[in-house]
């Protein structure tokens, strides 16, 4: 770590140039396009043949193309930019530090490319890391310049790709999904604004811009969650989402103000980061700023205990949920940490700590969210809690210093979670309900395409090799550096986080298995005849599942297939190389070395969860259902009644099913008899108990947590504080008696008592 710092100091830290790629310089066009489409749809949408949807799709399409080109340009920029070629910008003030110069005093728009040399650990040739900064002084006030502009580096250019792609697909999907809605045009207008705000957010250069975009994202989500506002639960949910977010926003505001003063009156993100890295900001200020900002992340990114709005937000239309959960809104919190990573890194002492606020919150959220997903009957709520859990992974990763892993998981998660949401939407669309137990079941027959894509995305989410989720989750687990994994422990050893992460992995597979069984297998329990969705719905699903399969290969761990840990080649660490800034505004984080052992163990644990769930649902529940001919969704009785059932009905019913198989086995291959008998005994007496117990236990603990902690304590606290303030408002209201002389008494007494206190005390 110190080596890195030294290396960075040994070469000229900063140089400036004016020759960045045109697409990188003018990336502000990307958020502008959907913003224009918002206005266009708002004013002309109703008069267009497709109610404005075409405008939104066209804008997002263009933005997507722009983002793709910008990504390609970034590859080139990132790899081939040589600070030695850069001409110093002589007209800029050299006395200013890195990033200061971008506050164009003259108000002219310049592009300033900021570079610092990175010396990789292997001692190979220095890779310059550059961020393309472009800005304009918005206004100056009290000697402080408020700059607006774009800060483009690997992470933001990656986000551009994700946001525009997901948003484009959601737009396309929505043309079918909300067809015929009363506020069709309105919906598309805000979908565009939502995307625009998020794009604006990821490109923000100053903290002021960041806050504005953050709030805009919040307002758009409020409008979209409450899209069907005529029903009270929907507008309640929107209100709750907004209010909960507001709590965090205050944290954001306070954190940014602390940083503003601590970093010497600047809103510039790069400057703040640099000063944080260079140790020019006091530790206290950084810690408090990090804590305040963590509050913001907790509300925005649905971290325990401010996550309660997220499941409620399912009241919005499904495409909105997909957008919120995959690309916008909830990842804003994670991205904000990444943007101001030095603040968190130094503020929480991530490098030399083994427990910090961020990591703990993330770890708790991973397990907590996973457990909650078990007991939801609403398919979207399963996915919502799953998002909570996965966001926990991202925050955990950032908390343990695995920066790349966090962004990589954000990247892969965006695809499979969007795929899952849109898939659930297509199922729900055909049965007009989100209730898995009441109205779904056996959907694979009716909806083959959504079934396949849902399955692929689920497997990816569960982290099964070699789908996208495997790679990103594995990287996070390695990044914890816990229990001796990851050779370079530059970021401390987070044993607890590793364990929680593994538990979460097992839970993820399990609840998704349950969800798939309840939705797609068994007998159809709903009414009517579900029908396959149209092309506008299936095509986005297919595209997303392709990404869900393949996105992981963008960041193969070094040493995989070819090369070695020291010399990654080809696709190895491509993503990390792409997003991780190696510059003075980024902390010198260590990189964990992947471990085959951990990957295998994690895979086993990760598969154990689904295996248990598979056993429970596909084998036992399904078997029982077939046996009795009932439409079962759970075993009629869990482990509680197992003792009474040991030799009776349940056992008989289940056992008979297996006996048939076993007898066949015995007959077909008689030699296997004894083995089978041993296996059978083992099955009946050990495995069955363990499996049943595990599945039942998970469900029960999930139910307990949901009922007692989530609904009663957390939600109760949130609602209770509202109730309490409302009640105290009522009490205070009684002071207002309407009698003028009592008012006068209050006036005189108030003045007297205040005066008395001040006379005596001061």
């Amino acid at each position: 770590m110190s080596l890195l710092v030294l290396a960075a100091e040994s070469v000229p830290e900063v140089s400036f140039t004016r020759d960045a790629n045109w697409f990188l310089e003018n990336v502000w066009i990307v958020p502008l396009l959907p913003a224009l489409s918002f206005l266009g749809i708002l004013f002309f949408g109703k008069r267009l043949p497709r109610g404005g949807a075409e405008l939104g799709i066209a804008a997002l399409g263009l933005a997507f193309l722009f983002a793709v080109v910008a990504n390609i340009a970034w590859f080139d920029h990132r790899d081939n930019y040589d600070y030695r070629d850069a001409e110093p910008a002589t007209e800029l003030d050299h006395s200013a530090g890195v990033g200061d110069t971008v506050l164009d005093i003259d108000g002219e728009s310049d592009t300033v490319v900021l570079a610092a040399a990175e010396e990789s650990e292997g001692g190979e040739e220095a890779h310059p890391a550059v961020a393309v900064l472009k800005g304009r002084t918005w206004f100056e006030n009290g000697g402080v310049a408020f700059a607006v502009g774009t800060l483009l580096d690997g992470s933001s250019v990656m986000m551009l790709f994700v946001v525009t792609l997901i948003s484009l697909l959601v737009h396309v999907y929505s043309t079918d999904y909300v067809k015929g809605d009363v506020r069709f045009t309105h919906f598309f207008a805000f979908l565009s604004l939502f995307s625009s705000s998020m794009l604006f957010f990821v490109l923000s250069r100053s903290t002021i811009q960041l806050i504005t975009a953050w709030e805009l994202v919040g307002v758009c989500s409020f409008v979209l969650i409450g899209h069907w506002w005529e029903e009270k639960p929907n507008s309640d949910a929107a209100l709750k989402a907004f209010l909960t977010n507001r709590v965090g926003d205050i944290g954001l505001l306070v954190g940014m103000i602390i940083l503003f003063f601590a970093a010497g009156n600047t809103f510039d993100i790069v400057t703040i980061n640099e000063k944080a890295v260079a140790g020019e900001i006091s530790q206290t200020a950084l810690t408090w700023a990090a804590i305040s900002l963590t509050a913001a992340v907790m509300s925005k990114s649905g971290q325990f205990i401010l996550h309660t709005w997220l499941p409620d937000a399912m009241a919005g239309p499904t495409p909105v949920s997909a957008l919120i959960h995959a690309a916008t809104m909830v990842v804003a919190g994670v991205f904000m940490i990444a943007r101001l990573y030095p603040v968190f890194y130094e503020g929480f002492g991530i490098a030399d700590n083994s427990v910090n606020g961020l990591a703990v919150i993330g770890a708790v959220t991973v397990v907590f969210g996973g457990l909650l997903a078990f007991v939801q009957d609403d398919i979207k709520k399963v996915l919502a809690y799953s998002t909570v859990s996965q966001l926990g992974y991202m925050v955990l990763a950032l908390g343990v210093g695995a920066y790349t892993a966090a962004l990589f998981h954000l990247f892969t998660h965006a695809f499979f979670k969007a795929g899952l949401f849109l898939g659930s939407g297509s199922v729900a669309h055909s049965v007009h309900s989100f209730d898995m137990k009441k109205d779904m079941g056996g959907m694979r027959k009716f909806l083959p395409t959504p079934f396949i894509t849902f399955l692929i995305c689920s497997i990816s989410l569960a982290g099964v090799f070699p789908l996208a989720g495997f790679w990103s989750k594995d990287e996070i687990l390695v990044g914890t550096g816990g229990l001796g994994v990851g050779a370079d422990k530059a970021n401390g050893s987070y044993h607890l986080m590793l364990i929680m992460g593994l538990v979460g992995a097992a839970l993820t597979g399990a609840y998704m298995t349950r969800c798939i069984y309840l939705t797609f297998f068994g007998e159809f329990r709903g009414h009517g005849h579900p029908h396959e969705s149209g092309r506008a719905i299936t095509v986005p699903l297919i595209i997303l599942s392709v990404f869900a399969v393949g996105a992981g290969f963008l960041n193969l761990p070094p040493g995989f297939l070819a090369g070695s840990a020291e010399e990654p080649t080809g696709w190895q660490e491509r993503f990390g190389h792409f997003v991780e800034p190696a510059a003075a505004y980024f902390p010198p984080i260590g990189h964990a070395v992947p471990s085959w052992g951990l990957a295998i163990i994690a895979s086993i644990i990760g598969l154990a969860g689904p295996a248990v769930a598979y056993w429970y649902y596909f084998v036992k529940v399904d078997g029982l259902a077939k046996q009795t001919g009932e439409k079962l969704t759970e075993l009629p009785n869990g482990i509680t009644s197992r003792n009474a059932w040991a030799g009776a009905g349940h056992a008989v019913l289940v056992n008979k099913y297996y006996l048939d198989h076993l007898y066949n086995d015995v007959i077909v291959a008689g030699v296997k008899g004894p083995l089978a008998r041993v296996a059978y005994w083992f099955n009946q007496n050990v495995l069955d108990g363990v499996v049943d117990g595990a599945a039942d236990g998970a469900v029960r603990s999930g139910r307990f947590v949901y009922d007692n902690i989530d609904q009663k304590v957390v939600d109760g606290a949130v609602n209770g504080s509202g109730f309490l303030s409302s009640q105290s408002g009522q009490g205070l209201r009684r002071m207002q008696t309407g009698k003028v002389q009592q008012y006068a008494a209050l006036l005189f007494a108030g003045a007297t008592i205040l005066a008395g206190i001040f006379i005596v005390v001061i």
Partner: protein
């Protein structure tokens, strides 16, 4: 003479005025009590003026007297209007607006 002779007398008048303001139901009496308070202030101002040996206190007192005249005029107009609307000048009855 002691400065506090005047100031304490003024304080007492002030508090008697406050008592009147808080307890009288008759609107005109409340306004009279207000005059008591304002006169207490004037005693303060003039006493301080003598103590500080400049005329600012006296000038201030003259302005207070002038403004008090305007205030009384307006106050009596309001009380009169109240009487016309309600046939009563009992301030304790005025409590339609509350909460």
């Amino acid at each position: 003479m002691m400065l506090n002779q005047f100031l304490l007398l003024a304080a007492a008048l002030f508090c008697i005025g406050v008592y009147g303001v808080l307890t009288r139901r008759n609107g005109v009496l409340v306004l009279m009590s207000v005059e008591l308070i304002l006169n207490a202030v004037n005693i303060n101002l003039v006493a301080f003026g003598a103590f500080r040996d400049n005329v600012m206190g006296d000038v201030f007192a003259v302005f207070v007297i002038a403004v008090a005249a305007a205030e009384v005029g307006v106050g009596l107009a309001l009380v009169l209007l109240m009487y016309r609307n309600r046939r009563s000048i009992d301030f304790t009855e005025v409590d339609a607006l509350k909460g």
